[in-house]
Amino acid sequence: MTKANGYLVEVRNLAISYRTATGAVEAIKGVDFAISPGETVAIVGESGSGKSTVASAIVGLLADNARVTHGEIFVNGEAVAHAPDSRRRELRGNVIGLVPQDPMVGLNPTMRNGVQIGEALIKVKGRRYPGLDADVLELLEQVGIDNPVLRARQYPHELSGGMRQRILIAIALAGDPDLLIADEPTSALDVTVQKRVLDHLERLVRERGISLLIITHDLGVAADRADRFLVMEDGRIVEQGEPHRLLSSPAHRMTRRLIAAAPALSAGGDFAVTHRQAPDAPEILAFHGVSKHFDLPAGSGAPTFAALDTVSFSVRKGQTLAIVGESGSGKTTSLRIALGLERPSAGHVTFEGQEISHLNWKAFRPLRRRIQLVQQNPFASLDPRFTIFESVVEPLVSFGLAKGPELERAARHLLGLVHLPVAHLDRLPRELSGGQRQRVAIARALALQPDLLFLDEPVSALDVSVSAQILALLKELQDELGVSYVLVSHDLSVVASVAHHVVVLRRGQVVEQGPAGQIFRSPQDDYTRILLDAVPGRRRALEAAV
């Protein structure tokens, strides 16, 4: 089917604009590229750069208010940019498969997994056929799902995020497409799961000889997998080329920025280089053999589930302790125990020698001035009805520490600390970007001048380039204010530049802990090594360094 020029997909001078209430907004301003059969191409860019719009245009799933104003898209030599919907529907599935962004909402929760894959197969074949069930099981096996017979019978909510992403890949593969488009395929997943899914996807693509188009904001992900990548900014492709060349000699400012933002790439794959030295300092918070058991509903096998199992570690004054592990490893539970939101089943927690794990809310309240939290999702952690001023000074008001002009002075000072313009005091959260909101959340946590700050996945909801800025800010604040951090993350690369000490948690147990340099230079436990290997971009960075 491939036409003379040999390209599977060719995009020529494409321009797309969105109609909005305030007039047309140009999202794509003349984009040219082509994908050959069997090639893996990545489009990298920050949110709003137009990368997802390009992908939607190729699949033919542009939003209703979007219009192709210029240029053409060829699939197998056929012009499709203005093709009727019926034709595009035939191409979807058979020629182009799409793996959507968020595995948590990408599946129909009321249908069994097997049925959803079967539906895709039926659509391709045009009818129900006798070997359908066998084909479903084969697809499940291909995408690396163990016990396919059971999984096909289960519903999406019974599977983990990684499994769901695999089901989505199986659905995309059902039509035996020539091109697979993966739109931020793993940004909602833990790094280790992310690596497994991507490795598998890569192998499938190679075995079947199909092309893969990865859309991502993380240059690390792209660098590891792609034969070639395109860097997008503001609706244009600003640079493209082979990973090796782009990483060693990036020409455009945006490419350099994305490289700097991917921790693995900026450090040349070796985190031991950038870690922070941990001088001796007094202990501020310590866990002493803390366990936490949750009761399970009757009939689920075991009576209780151990979220934490005799965990001990300590945080030193003015330093950062990073707790790293996958979801379900107990990192959030340990954080909630330290904050007095949960009680441990065994063991105790001390803050400057004082036991705090069995205090009630009232007795804990004075400590709130010294222990604060920055939450995971900056989009939900600010009251939508509060102005930034009200949000930032709320702890001061709650404790009755300041009033009137003093509050205003405090608010200005706090915004200055997190590098936000004072004019933002008047805004509402919805007028700020994710990174700005996270800065506000940090400012609020600092309002009471705490000695210890808990950071619960502070950057997991943000683009890599924004997350690099937030991490730099956190480091700067620590040097300036001498505040101690407990940084919780699923990604070792996130903590690499901030942590003094690292605790690696797995299934509620500490598998390894020690100074950051030691963990990154010579990890003792297999699991730590898995986590290190999972960091996106590391493979390519190590190759480049050799």
Binding site: L339, L341, R365, R368, R369, Q372, L373, Q375, Q376, N377, A380, S381, L382, D383, P384, R385, T387, F389, E390, E394, P395, V397, S398, F399, G400, K403, G404, P405, L407, E408, R412, V422, A423, L425, D426, A441, R444, A447, L448
Partner: protein
């Protein structure tokens, strides 16, 4: 910094209130606006209404409701004719330029009686919704926020109320506490409490698990403060829409009860009594029932339309 000037002036007295006890928090809620002048209540209402007013349906419905409100507050502005002045010579006249809605069996001007009757009907509806709003909100917040046994008890009580047909419940209450506009309003109000309680509880349950509520708690905010400053304002939206919708339902219900003869005693006019009055002349003078009936229908339709639009716009 010109932007900051209103912050300092606006917040000084308000923040002083916050620093006191929970009781002071309450007054702060009631009196406090946004810290800057750009976020005054009037400004926000203007911002919210402007795009909506460009929709003709919404604008018509809203102006009609405003007209009814004027009729209820100052009936003299809309009609110069006395509602109780009889004129046997002009009885049962059909609608005309002199008598827009016609006249009744005693020659009283129906339009004037409708306008003057608005006061009673609107008052009854607002009272009913007010009762439902206050008790529904308190019950909902109580059971949603405290949870556990309190939740179980309150919700079973609500279940019992829901199990009785609304009109039957209202009839029973009116029979127990006596006839008249106020008792009818109370009865109707109690009838629609369950909806408010349920909606509020659901919203409170949703909002209270949100990260910013946890952040406020960890910031040292008391439960009262968290409830009044975070949970209530953010749960309020759907309840407000329900209230607008239920004013329509309350108007229908009070009109229904007065139609059955439980409402205001003659000669006082209420929309329901007017419709009921015309019943005897349906063959000879159908407008006596039809015109007030259509009028009530229009009021309720406008209310529903406004509520629906506000709900979509949220």
């Amino acid at each position: 910094m010109t932007i900051l000037a209103p912050i300092s002036t606006g917040s000084a007295d308000r923040q002083a209130l916050f620093l006191g006890s929970a009781a002071l928090d309450l007054t702060a809620i009631a009196g406090a606006g946004r810290p800057s002048s750009g976020w005054t209540l009037a400004g926000r209402v203007r911002d919210a209404l402007n795009p909506l007013l460009r929709r003709p349906g919404f604008a018509i419905a809203l102006s009609f409701l405003l007209l009814v409100l004027v009729a209820a507050l100052a009936p003299g502005l809309l009609t110069g004719v006395a509602p109780y002045a009889t004129s046997p010579a002009d009885k049962l006249l059909s609608p005309s330029a002199a008598h827009w809605f016609g006249t009744d069996e005693l020659g009283r001007d129906l339009y004037s009686r409708m306008v003057h009757g608005s006061a009673l009907s609107v008052k009854a509806a607002l009272l009913a919704v007010g009762i439902a709003l206050v008790s529904g909100l308190s019950l909902g917040v109580l059971s949603g926020f405290i949870g556990g046994r309190v939740d179980a008890v309150v919700m079973r009580f609500v279940d019992v109320l829901l199990a009785l047909p609304g009109l039957l419940l209202a009839l029973a209450i009116v029979t127990a506490i006596g006839f008249g506009t106020i008792p009818v309003a109370i009865a109707v109000g109690i009838g629609i409490v369950p909806g408010f309680a349920r909606t509020t509880r659901a919203e409170v349950l949703r909002v209270k698990t949100l990260p910013y509520v946890e952040a406020a708690r960890l910031g040292g905010a008391s439960w009262t403060r968290t409830l009044l400053r975070h949970v209530l304002p953010n749960s309020w939206g759907p309840v407000a829409v329900l209230a607008t919708l239920d004013i329509g339902a309350a108007i229908i219900a009070t009109a229904g009860l007065s139609f059955l003869g439980f409402g205001a005693a003659p000669p006082a006019a209420e929309w329901g009594t007017l419709i009921s009055n015309g019943r005897n002349f349906l063959m000879t003078a159908p407008w006596l029932s039809l015109v007030p009936g259509l009028f009530v229908m229009l009021v309720v339709f406008s209310l529903n339309h406004v509520a629906r639009t506000l709900d979509e716009g949220r």
